[in-house]
């Protein structure tokens, strides 16, 4: 890595770290500085920054009087918390039994082929992340998906094509 890139990276990190510190301090004020504020704080940070940057971990630990290991343990335990940013769009396909009973596996296969991604991957251009979800509670009308924040039921190959096509924008 050339010095300039490295410098930029470090400078970039410093800016982020300042943003993170401000956000964590504000959240500790709102949510309290007890351990029980940890999950709400992680949700709020992820909503604001898109993911839980490793740089946040020591800041959170210090704000809630926890060890870094405690915070790291919680971040890595829960499937919702990500340590890398998502794509601009997120396609979550339900993989649970009720959707399987209605043909979810075929829909998953088509989606992975169309997007050229495996489940859990983000496209190289950062456009879309394909993910599995285990039950959205729409179990009588599967196969189901969440496309960004919109639930969609009764997905067939045609609707899947249309939905994925809309994501190119």
């Amino acid at each position: 890595m050339s010095p300039t890139q490295n410098d930029r990276l470090i400078a970039g990190d410093a800016i982020h770290a300042n943003d993170y510190a401000a956000a964590v301090a504000r959240l500790a004020e709102d949510l309290g500085s007890e351990q029980s504020a940890l999950l709400p704080m992680l949700h709020a940070l992820q909503d604001e920054f898109g993911y839980i940057d490793d740089l946040m971990v020591p800041l959170i630990a210090s704000a809630l009087n926890l060890s870094r290991a405690d915070v790291h343990g919680v971040v890595t335990f829960y499937h919702d918390f990500r340590r890398q940013p998502l794509g601009r769009h997120r396609v979550r396909l339900c993989r649970a039994e009720s959707c399987q009973a209605r043909g979810a596996a075929a829909i998953e296969r088509i989606a992975t082929e169309r997007l050229g991604l495996r489940m859990g991957e983000t496209s190289v251009d950062g456009r879309v992340t394909l993910d599995a979800v285990y039950c959205l509670g729409l179990c009588a009308t599967g196969p189901n998906a969440m496309i960004d924040d919109v639930p969609v039921s009764r997905i067939d190959p045609t609707t899947l094509d249309r939905l994925l096509g809309e994501l190119t924008r």
């Binding site: 335990f77 919702d80 039994e97 285990y134 509670g137 179990c139 009588a140 009308t141 969609v152």
Partner: protein
Amino acid sequence: MTRVYVSKDMAAVALGADAVAEALSNAGAQVVRTGSRGLFRLEPLVEVETPEGRVGFGPVAAADAALVLDGGHPARLGDVSAMPFFARQQRFTFARCGVIDPLSLDDYEAHGGWRGLTAARALSPQAAIDAVKASGLRGRGGAGFPTGIKWQTVHDAPGPLKYVVCNADEGDSGTFADRMLMEGDPFCLIEGMAIAGHAVGAERGYIYIRSEYPFAIRTIREAIARAAAIVAPFALEVRVGAGAYVCGEETALLDSIEGKRGEVRAKPPLPAIAGLFGRPTVINNVLSLAAVPFILSEGGDAYAAIGFGRSRGTMPVQLAGNVRNGGLFEVGFGITLGELVMDIGGGTDSGRPVKAVQVGGPLGAYFPPSMFDLPFDYEAFAAAGGLIGHAGITVFDDTVDMAHMARFAMEFCAHESCGKCTPCRIGSTRGVELIDRLIAGERRAADAVERLPQMRNVAGGARPAGQDVELLRDLCDTMKFGSLCALGGFTPYPVLSALDHFPQDFGAGAPISSAAAE
């Protein structure tokens, strides 16, 4: 201006209800957004208010808004509540769901809301607990523990600080009753929790909702704000889960609220003695708490009057998967599995024969149609090697491969295991490998240890498939009796039931030494 009712339940929205509501509004109607009635084949369902009562149309496309308003839409259903699917139900808990505006305090009160809380407050805490005991209500989350006895334990536990926690981490596939109630009648849950608070002496409650239910989270938060003055001094807070299935287990859920990894605690101590933050805690499922307002307003005896054996009252059964009339069907215990799947559910949606139904979510057993005479009852299902769980029934047609479903059960357990106990953490992964080998028809060669001269009791050669089946049963036995909670402990239900009832799906060597199939 014509008033119309359109559901804003997540399932209805996923089928296009938002666009229908917008089109109706643009066409000049006054649109009231409700919860869902619970028959998803009809969604998006539109009900038009007329002098003769509400007239339903469904499913309706957004382009047909004008047709609905002039009454000429071909999918005219008439009075929705008179349709057989609804007329056959006994809606104690879901009476208001799909009928009222979920966030209207006026609607709630006009439909009998807060009567249970008023009645409870007129009683001593002990008398309120006695009413719940008399109702025979058992935990609707799946365990079936008597709710009144749990409350009594918390009531009798010493200490000034106690909690009421609602388990709304409805992670089981095939279940959606908690979600529907939270979206369609949130005040009912709040009322039930306030009654629990009065009964056990708690002033603080938490509702732990899974993050996959964004609509329910929004609705409950707003409902808590609107009802705060009514339930005060009892105060409620929503906690949002983070995608961990195991947090539906009550002690893992408590740890999650406390800001920890959602790992299961060893019991005892019971949460009723040392629960949230180490304090005595009532932790109940959404449906248990939502059944309480009815019990207090109508009396425990009225609730207990219907039911079957030791299972009293009603169960909101959820028909899911490949079923024609999928949805929510609240009915007294004792109805048979076959009536639910075939008569009410109408068989499969694909029109093919039913091959199997899974009752109780990912940890529930698979039953073949030959067992459809089972009455819906905690004890009857336990005796048949299954559980009713949260009363979700997932229907599969004859295209399903049961070995694949057994493998999925193990894979899901491996994916979601909290890692605290070995049978669940390691056993699930070994289970996937075993089933993979059975499906592939491979014979496992003896490994380096098995070839050691000291291991003289080991055959040494390749292991036949029959031995792998025995090994799988042995593994299931270890998981069932050695796991700390229901995740590892109940994963054997789908695996063994698939093996027992559908051995033909596991390859040639499978049907051997079945304890249950004798």
